[in-house]
């Protein structure tokens, strides 16, 4: 049995290692045009900032792949021959498969802005983008970033670390406030400005101006303000990368359509991770998940399904984390930017604006947490949510959830006092 996995990101690699555990004798091949070996995509920023070498972003030593007999092919897949069960590779001909997992990840969005294909205009998603950023940054003293998500603020931090002046253009009234409640979002606005980064809010990009040689020289906003710059970072989010399957019989929606065992409509072809769209079985919304941990979790289940096990993906209780400059953020359970019907939000923020906690309850039961500048135990928060503990119970035991390093100043007393007052 030969299983081929397209993509060596976290989903593809997790599927491959899981499959190897379950099927020690199968032939497994990973194909990627982006890199010879798997690397950690979230670490791209640390290469650029000089915190880490590229070598150090690879979670496995190179000998691991030989030891585990996971064959690596460095090539781009340009087509799928479904009848003959073969992949068409760009340089090295055809690759037959018995089972195929598509784990091609996502692509940066582009919204058809005039000038979006000029030199010096780019997103940040893969090693190709990083190469481009190395070159573009060389000639840049002022950069404009358009789109205020996680990649946008990472890009701002990266360029800032090389002493490039950054202007951050966001559509929203406050950073990432379509996802974060306004208080947490406000803390981050403050950080951005504290770093000396210009934050221009509620402003859309109108066009990117050509300097006459096909390279960017400025951007113009919808209010006809012109900002001179040598680099434009476009970071308005990502979409599933379905290029490979678009003109095949494999069904796509926004992503590659799969059931909750990652099966596409074609037998022996599977898709998982950022490129997949999991079709809801009960008529609810389809699921597209594009963060690191869901890619890993989906990859594990996909590996089991490829091995022939009857496993289904259970998304579980949502969690995520990020770091905005020096401010760490962790979230457990789903919190939307505005309180939903029946939700009760309790919020505490330290006067320094460097620590905050949000506790969300429904019907008196804990539903979700946001922690800013405070580390919290995943296991404890998840258990409380799963057990539907009362908000009173959670406040009474909040210190059990703390995961800050030893000797850090603890804020539980103030937090609990403040949240209890709000509760009453």
């Amino acid at each position: 049995m030969h299983t081929v996995i397209v993509g060596n990101g976290v989903t593809g690699v997790t599927a491959a290692t899981r499959l190897r555990q379950l099927q020690p004798d199968w032939k497994i091949t990973l194909v990627s045009g982006e890199s010879a070996y798997h690397y950690s995509r979230p670490a791209l920023m640390y290469i650029f900032m000089g915190h880490m070498t590229y070598e150090a972003t690879k979670p496995f030593e190179d000998r691991f792949w030989r030891d585990q007999r996971l064959d690596l092919v460095r090539d781009w897949v340009t087509g799928i021959d479904i009848e003959d069960k073969q992949l068409v590779l760009h340089r090295s001909g055809r690759l037959p498969y018995d089972r195929l997992l598509i784990a091609t990840g996502a692509k940066s969005n582009k919204f058809g802005w005039p000038g979006q294909d000029l030199e010096g205009v780019q997103g940040l998603y893969n090693l190709k983008d990083l190469r481009q950023l190395y070159e573009n940054a060389e000639r840049t003293s002022h950069a404009v970033i358009v789109g205020g998500g996680l990649i946008g603020i990472e890009l701002a931090e990266m360029l800032h670390s090389r002493h490039i002046h950054v202007t951050f253009l966001i559509r929203e009234a406050s950073y990432w406030c379509n996802i974060l409640p306004i208080e947490e979002s406000g803390m981050i606005n403050r950080l951005i400005e504290e770093q000396g980064i210009g934050l221009i809010r509620e402003t859309n990009l109108k066009e990117i101006v050509d300097d006459g040689s096909g390279r960017v020289e400025a951007v113009v906003t919808e209010f006809d303000d012109r900002i001179d710059c040598q680099l434009v970072g476009l970071t308005p989010g990502v979409s599933p990368n379905t290029d490979l399957v678009k003109s095949t019989p494999i069904e796509t929606g926004r992503g590659v359509l799969v059931d909750n065992s990652f099966r596409t409509n074609i037998p022996d072809i599977y898709a998982a991770g950022d490129c997949a769209e999991i079709v809801s079985r009960n008529g609810g919304r389809n699921l597209i998940q594009q963060v690191w941990y869901t890619g890993k979790k989906q990859g594990k289940v996909a590996g089991e399904v490829l091995a022939g096990e009857d496993t289904a993906y259970n998304p579980g209780i949502w969690y995520n984390s990020a770091k905005f400059f020096d401010l760490e953020y962790q979230t457990y359970g789903m919190i939307l930017s505005t309180p939903q019907p029946g939700e009760h939000h309790l919020y505490w923020e330290h006067p320094s604006h460097r620590h905050a906690v949000r506790v969300v309850g429904t019907d008196g039961c804990i539903k979700a947490f946001n922690f800013m500048g405070i580390r919290a135990r995943h296991e404890v928060c998840e258990r409380w949510i799963a057990e539907r503990r009362s908000v009173e119970y959670v406040l009474g035991h909040l210190e059990e959830a703390n995961f800050d390093p030893e000797f850090f100043v603890r804020h539980e007393t103030e937090i609990v006092r403040s949240l209890k007052e709000q509760l009453a």
């Binding site: 290692t17 982006e34 890199s35 010879a36 950690s40 670490a43 640390y46 900032m49 000089g50 915190h51 880490m52 590229y54 150090a56 972003t57 979670p59 496995f60 030593e61 000998r63 781009w76 897949v77 340009t78 087509g79 799928i80 021959d81 009848e83 003959d84 068409v88 760009h90 090693l127 190709k128 190469r131 190395y134 940054a137 060389e138 670390s161 090389r162 002493h163 504290e194 770093q195 290029d243 490979l244 399957v245 678009k246 003109s247 095949t248 941990y293 969690y319 984390s321 990020a322 400059f325 020096d326 580390r375 135990r377 995943h378 995961f403 800050d404 390093p405 030893e406 850090f408 100043v409």
Partner: protein, 484 residues
């Protein structure tokens, strides 16, 4: 069913055109990144440091040195003041947080020409210090007034060494305060190493000399300070006038055989290696800029285990042979004397000093602690099997970025554990806490648990785990070979 003909290109041609050999050509130093703006305060401070060097050179070359304070105060005063103010102006206006921008690009921090030059200079200093101290005669004269003031006796090369060592720990300790001012763990443990170096390893031994007592370092124990349990040292201490010498022997025995296992059981190896020890103190202060240089490969881990336990066996053997020799009227004396000399030369001087510190800028700041120190080996065995200490991994939050592994000065692949949601329980971990500090997702926490039995599967049976490790190498929990 429609099938694309062979070679049909479905994906973006621009994507296909991408090929870059990231393995061979990498993502190194930017060709011409904008320089960090140099603040006036930093320039002035650099000037003060330069002036200090000038005074130092002039004093050493040209001035009659007669134990006067002026050249000492002027040279070391300017050097210290300049360093402190340089660090202050570098960090004072920055936002508190991790300061690793450009570490991998830096000539000094990433094995550039400056790093090699520094390595050669440091190594050279150790070689001269150990084997040609006569060339340091004038430098020793420079610190003479301090030796007279503290010990009432002339300075020698070891006083000079202790003084420079302590100065480095204090000055670069201040750098740690500025860099980690958002992190109380680092502030407190830096205060601790500064205190132990300054008071127990520098001022107190000199006071003891002033009182005509043996020069004794209360913060170093056998087997690191190997000769403290050699029969010659014990005889000398016990026979020195007054009760203090006997207390020193008692202290050494208690610390080596009782305090070490007990404290390690409760707090892990870190109570010594990154809180008390002078070698650790220098590594955590002066050595901090090079902490990422230690190799992280499985091969380096195998080499580490082979060497460190060999050194431990060697010092146990040497000590035992010396005791047999001294209690049996010279039996084994044919091997005991050369063994003692050999250990002192190759391990005590060459390995711990010349390589251990001299190679900081090239091999990282914990070469000796990781590959050689027998005290670290003992503490490590206790930590690994009989301790409550562990680094806890926070559920599924790890995204495998590798900052923890990169900045682990002991070469532990922290990420390999964190990404699998396992606690890190490794004999070499000195508990510096930097993995936890650099983690951008809040995944790692150093903890002393309530028992030793909940750290990893099987850790409630330490003897079993210990015997497995001995019989099968480290192929038990936590071996990267078993990662799938």
């Amino acid at each position: 069913m429609s099938t694309p003909p062979a070679g049909t290109t479905l994906i973006d041609p621009e994507t296909i055109s991408y090929f870059y050999d990231e393995e061979a050509d990498g993502f190194g130093e930017p060709a011409s990144a904008a320089e960090a703006p140099r603040k006036p305060g930093m320039m002035v401070s650099a000037g003060v440091i330069g002036l200090g060097f000038l005074v130092l050179v002039v004093s050493l070359l040209g001035m009659p040195l007669s134990g006067a304070w002026t050249p000492f105060l002027l040279s070391f005063g300017l050097l210290s003041a300049g360093t402190i103010s340089y660090v202050w102006f570098t960090y004072k206006d920055t936002v508190p947080g991790i300061k690793h921008d450009g570490v991998m690009f830096g000539n000094t921090t990433h094995r550039g020409a400056i790093a090699w030059a520094l390595g050669i200079a440091l190594t050279g200093f150790y070689v001269v210090l150990y084997w040609w101290p006569e060339y340091l005669a004038r430098t020793i004269m420079l610190v003479e007034p301090l030796s007279q003031a503290l010990a009432g006796q002339p300075a020698n090369q070891w006083f000079l060494y202790g003084f420079l060592y302590t100065m480095a720990v204090v000055l670069f300790g201040f750098r740690m305060f500025m860099r980690y001012r958002h992190n109380r763990y680092h502030i407190i443990r830096t205060i601790s190493v500064m205190f132990f170096q300054l008071v127990l390893a520098f001022v107190l031994p000199q006071f003891l000399r002033a009182l005509n007592e043996p020069e004794f370092y209360f913060s170093y124990f056998w087997p690191l300070k190997y000769d403290y349990l050699f029969p010659g040292t014990v005889d000398y201490l016990v026979n020195s006038p007054g009760a203090l010498g006997s207390f020193m022997v008692f202290w050494g025995v208690i610390c080596s055989f009782i305090a070490t296992p007990v404290l390690t059981y409760f707090y892990g190896k870190r109570w010594y290696c990154s809180w008390v020890c002078g070698c650790g103190g220098l590594a955590e202060t002066l050595g901090d800029p090079w902490r990422h240089l230690t190799p992280k490969s499985t091969v380096s881990w195998k080499i580490e285990r082979a060497i460190i336990y060999a050194v431990l066996l060697l010092i146990i053997l040497t000590t035992a042979v010396l005791w047999v020799s001294s209690t049996s009227q010279g039996a084994l004396s044919a091997i005991s004397a050369p063994l003692k000399q050999w250990y002192g030369f190759y391990i005590g001087a060459v390995f711990a000093g010349v390589i251990g510190v001299g190679f900081y800028p090239v091999l990282g700041n914990r070469v000796w602690c990781r590959f050689g120190c027998p005290m670290a080996a003992v503490l490590g065995i206790i930590q690994r099997f009989f301790s409550r200490f562990r680094i806890t991994t926070n559920g599924g939050q790890c995204m495998s970025c590798g900052n923890c592994t990169t900045y682990c000065e002991m070469g532990i692949d922290v990420r390999a554990y964190a990404e699998r949601g396992e606690n890190i329980v490794r004999s070499s971990c000195v508990g510096c806490g930097v993995c936890s500090a650099v983690c951008p997702r809040g995944v790692l926490k150093l903890e002393n648990g309530r028992s030793h039995g909940d750290r990893y599967p099987g850790s409630d049976k330490p003897l079993g785990a210990f015997s497995t490790a001995i019989s099968k190498g480290a192929r038990v929990y936590g071996d990267r070979d078993g990662y799938v």
